[in-house]
Symmetry: C2
Subunit: 330 residues, 2 copies
């Protein structure tokens, strides 16, 4: 199996991307198609001994889309952007999955354009794995679609169940609808109509209030991309603020400093449980190809885990399973 | 000055409400109108010595709205509910401000019905104080209005500035619009149109991404009530989960347990900084009367702080200042 990599995407690209992808390729016995600037990629590869034994191919392109470029305009202006070249490798069957830690909007648009949609799915959704008190859950859409209609959320629910089965090894994931109250009358028109559509499903656990998202009552949390993005990003910012405030408090006195030193391991373990890089990346669900979107700040470890996720999703037939679930839920 | 209190509102009512309100009344030299079941309130008062020196009045009513009752139906069925009686005391001038820790929806509807709206304000908004790395900020709407139009958010911005001036003692609060990207093209139609309307204001700091809410770049964060409620409640749930996961990690080994004991003070300080009860309550801004909504789980301390907030907002002419700010921003 070969994975197509946007080698130029991400704050630390191409170094962090190449480093992480190489580790994954070696462990998985997978090949890589590295799309990007040939010399820059070759320079990174030269730092690694023994890459000759790996099935590596560089697809040269001088263009790349920056993290802060408006996606639609950038894609129009750069038909040979690295994310496009990587997406095309999946579209024409040369690779089985796509990974990019670059501009998320551009990745979503390029993947959508190159791969098209699975039958019965109107809009793609970004699925993310989140830690909860009872293990992990998945949430979608994390930001691919800002304005959603009820039938989109119903499709997200079906795709989220497949994602949870493959990523979390759950047999019968329970779906919750993110809202501001448990009662079916609570929430926006979108939420209330979606509730009505999901209600007949035996897997539907009802509305999940935001304060219970991390409690782990539902395995799949469904919402529109604006709400999902806000929910995740505010959590990310809050964990950073909590750490910084705690650190401030812990460095106040001698006893708290000693306390901190003694409990450092616990903090490291805790960090690991809330650290996105452990999960690697977020699948773009609904497009007719396996596509994993990495965090812009992806470290080599995050890239490694994301590429492993891409490999696993392709190997375990994610697309076929989504197709079947969508057909069954329709 | 007298404050009208819904003595029956909240998970721990009437005990926590009476206990907290009495402490506030004593400190502030304020009178209280306690609306609710006479005997239950009298029983709580009898536990406190020296209440005779306080200006206390019990407004007896046998009806109260439970935390989980659908607000509109409950208000129709119970015209003499304690929240209504308390709101009426403000409407007819017998009290200068209202406090309830009861059913939030019922409080919003009762206050709206009894007090009406300030001129130029179409919808009320719940404003909350949040901790940031640089101090505090305010966020609104935290859940009074699920569906909002751009002009509502523009009014929220003006009211939020007054709230931040009075509650946080800021001279020129900067307003940020909650979105999923800093660029003005990012977000829902609602967010993009609101951005366009707010852009000419010298106090507008642009879009604030959710991950920067707790960084403290903006003093006033504006959003619709669905998004605001999700943002706050997910934060509340996350802090609880973080504490529980950290505690789990910290009780793993002897050294981390000792570390925890030594750093307990730091945790307590930290808890204090993220604890809603320190802020007391959330003003319902835009109604033509000072109204503070408490958390359903309000402790006596939270009630005390919320009643003190009500007193201060009334004493410092919050309503007049909102009226002036709305007129100036129109």
């Amino acid at each position: 199996m070969r994975i197509a990599i946007d080698a130029m995407g991400g704050d630390e690209a191409p170094r962090a991307v190449v480093d992480g992808a190489l580790v994954a390729a070696r462990r998985l016995g997978a090949g890589l198609i590295l799309a990007g600037e040939r010399d820059a990629i070759a320079a990174e590869l030269s730092r690694h001994p023994g890459t000759r034994t790996l099935a590596l191919e560089i697809c040269h392109t001088p263009d790349a889309i920056a993290m802060d470029e408006p996606p639609a305009a950038a894609l129009r202006r750069k038909p040979r952007a690295s994310i496009r070249v990587a997406a095309d490798a999946v579209a024409n069957g040369r690779a089985s999955a796509l990974f990019s830690a670059g501009n998320t909007g551009a990745t979503v648009m390029a993947a959508h354009a190159a791969l098209g949609m699975l039958p019965g799915v109107d809009r793609p959704a970004l699925g993310v794995t989140i830690p909860t008190r009872r293990g992990s859950a998945v949430l979608l859409d994390a930001g691919a679609n800002v304005e959603c209609r009820p039938q989109h959320l119903v499709q997200f629910a079906a795709m989220g169940r497949v994602f949870a089965r493959v990523a979390l090894r759950l047999a019968e994931p329970r779906v919750g609808l993110l809202s501001i109250g448990e009662e079916e009358t609570k929430g926006t028109d979108l939420v209330r109509e979606t509730h009505r559509l999901l209600k007949p499903s035996p897997h539907f656990a009802g509305n999940v209030e935001a304060r219970d998202v991390y409690a782990g009552d539902a395995d799949v949390i469904v919402c529109d991309g604006f709400t999902g993005n806000v929910a995740l990003k505010i959590s990310e910012g809050l964990v950073e603020t909590v750490e910084s405030l705690l650190h401030e408090e812990l460095s106040q006195t001698f006893s708290t400093r000693v306390g901190y030193l003694l409990s450092r391991r616990a903090f490291r373990q805790f960090r690991k449980r809330v650290d996105y890089s452990e999960y690697g990346g977020a699948p773009l669900l609904g497009v007719a190809g396996v596509c994993i979107v990495g965090h812009g700040r992806s470290s080599p470890k995050a890239v490694r885990n994301a590429v492993a996720m891409a490999h696993r999703f392709a190997a375990e037939g994610l697309l076929e399973r989504i197709r079947a679930e969508i057909a069954a839920s329709a």
